[in-house]
Symmetry: C2
Subunit: 341 residues, 2 copies
């Protein structure tokens, strides 16, 4: 089968980022005025200053939707990715790591413009990650970067809310969503971050009421989207708007809302939580892989929980072990029961 005949399970469009991960104490976040648990966009000057101040790090390919595509491929799915890197060493690392796990990633590094994006991620002793992202060339995504033929061949399109900060990238994503729907495919969106939801509230509401049929969000992002404190109210509203909502609740597990029907999914037990970077991304990977294979929704949710449990048990935002080796039968279910609050 030639490359142009392959049908992809999931095509991701997102930031192409290399993570620079260091451990730190909570006092470091305070000294550097970093919002714990969030993602802050920083410019090159701040990136240099913060990098100088932070401890020894490891580098690992990241980017929210890119992480999810690596997860889908790790499960054995056919995944593809669209994003932008520079022709530099970190750009080479990003593209290598996508291809090495089996994601179709037809990106040539740009020879001019800003450097490849990096996110300076500080992991506190409670395993929480606080991200400080210099977007570099990743933010220059535009409609001409969207391979419409590839979009047409992909059962699911998965888009990153983080990309909504950039005008040309918004246009690129709207264009991709339109193309996907016109080809009879499915459109998924991740809300990415509470600050992201606040910054782009009207537009995110518009997307959820419009082209998006599958939504990924955590509890806080969902509450911000519907400007409510009641999770039950938010569940009801999102159930009326999208065909499938996948809402993560941390240690409480997750909730799938299938045309209004609520399905509770437990979290899986992890020996020691080391670094929560990538937990939501890998949850999405498991659900998207399951959906693409036509698995029952409850199993899709459990695959998401399993992938998230794998990634928080080590440093780095992507699976270390092939996810195709895990099954929902063999994993231990966390004793903590799901609480709807």
């Amino acid at each position: 089968m030639s490359d142009t005949e392959i049908r992809y399970d999931v095509l991701g469009i997102g930031n192409a980022i290399v993570d620079v991960i260091a451990q730190c104490e909570d006092s470091f976040l305070q000294d550097e005025s970093i919002e714990k648990g969030g993602m802050t966009l920083i410019d090159e000057g701040r990136a240099k200053q913060l990098y100088r101040a932070m401890g020894p790090a490891i580098e690992a390919s990241g980017g929210s939707v890119a992480n999810s595509m690596a997860g889908v491929a790790s499960f054995g799915g056919n995944a593809a990715f669209i994003g932008k890197v520079h022709d530099d060493q970190l750009g080479e690392v990003f593209v290598h790591d996508m291809r090495a796990v089996g994601v179709a990633c037809d990106i040539d590094g740009a020879t001019s413009g800003p450097a490849t994006a990096r996110s300076l991620i500080l992991v506190t002793p409670d395993a929480q990650r606080s991200m400080n992202t210099f977007l570099g060339i990743s933010s220059l995504l535009e409609p001409t970067d969207i391979n419409t033929e590839l979009v047409g061949r992909s059962t699911l399109l998965f888009c990153e809310g983080y990309l909504w900060d950039i005008e040309s990238a918004k246009k690129a994503i709207r264009y991709a969503m339109k193309t996907s729907l016109e080809s009879g495919n499915r459109v998924a969106l991740s809300l990415s971050d509470t600050f992201c939801v606040d910054r782009h509230h009207a537009e995110f509401c518009d997307l959820v009421a419009g082209p998006v049929d599958t939504l990924f969000a955590n509890r806080d992002e969902l509450l911000r989207l519907y400007e409510t404190d009641s999770i039950e109210s938010a569940f009801e509203q999102v159930g009326d708007q999208v065909a499938l909502a996948c809402i993560t609740m941390g240690t409480l597990g997750s909730m799938l809302i299938d045309n209004g029907r609520q399905i509770k999914i437990p979290a899986y037990e992890v020996g020691q939580v080391i670094d929560t970077t990538g937990a939501g991304d890998q949850y999405a990977a498991g659900v998207l892989y399951g959906l693409s294979q036509g698995r029952p929704l409850e199993e899709c949710g459990r695959l998401g929980s399993l992938a998230a449990a794998e990634v928080i048990s080590h440093v780095g935002p992507r699976p270390l072990a092939p996810l195709s080796g895990i099954t929902t039968d063999t994993a231990k279910v966390d004793a903590r029961s799901w609480v709807s609050e």
Copy 2:
């Protein structure tokens, strides 16, 4: 105290390398004709070909003696490092990670010549690491790179056997050793690798009989140095030649030979061995730190074992937790008894 007045506990001279670490099956090593457990020097073309073939990776600053200096600093010692990087992203990563852990590392990246060195490290399911190193600019170390004033201010000089592959680097190291001894300081050498010992046998014998007073080697490297199959005979010979020999024996622990007197050091228990990259380097870090603080030799050996146990419990060649937080009192001693064979 100004920078030129600081006295350093240990000054390391070695390769400045960024490790690119991927997991693989044993069959991959066979397919790629890679010698398991060893270090193979590769050129840029082979580095590109092997990188394309290998799985997703993480990047972490490495280099044998550089890892040891990061370990000494992590214990709270004053460490410095001399080596060469290019002015590229991986060079920036290397220098950042040294400075971030507190190693004095006064390196400006070269703006011409080869790229910063990288080692493609393949970790098999048994946690063994097989290294494939493209030395790049690291191999261009020469006598003018040796800051003699810094050598004079460093209680211990620690040199990397791996550097012996390059003519100008040999001259640089011999020059540094001479300067160190003339300043009344101590000279340590790591034999680095069995292939290294084979390639440079006569010269390594000459160094051990000459300027080197403290030797680091594993069991196999020591046997090759003395061209014997009897570890007891090798212990006797090395005891006659150097003031202190520190011989690692993997899970069997290590042996310190203090002017001929043998001191057995146990290995420490590790829950799960994940990646043995850096085990020997961190053992050396613990011993060198202990020596620099005037600790009893048995305690120096135990600090080495503790540091090695920390580093093999996670991916990457340098400590994740500050080693200053571990003590020889709190650690559990491995139940396996030391066997002299």
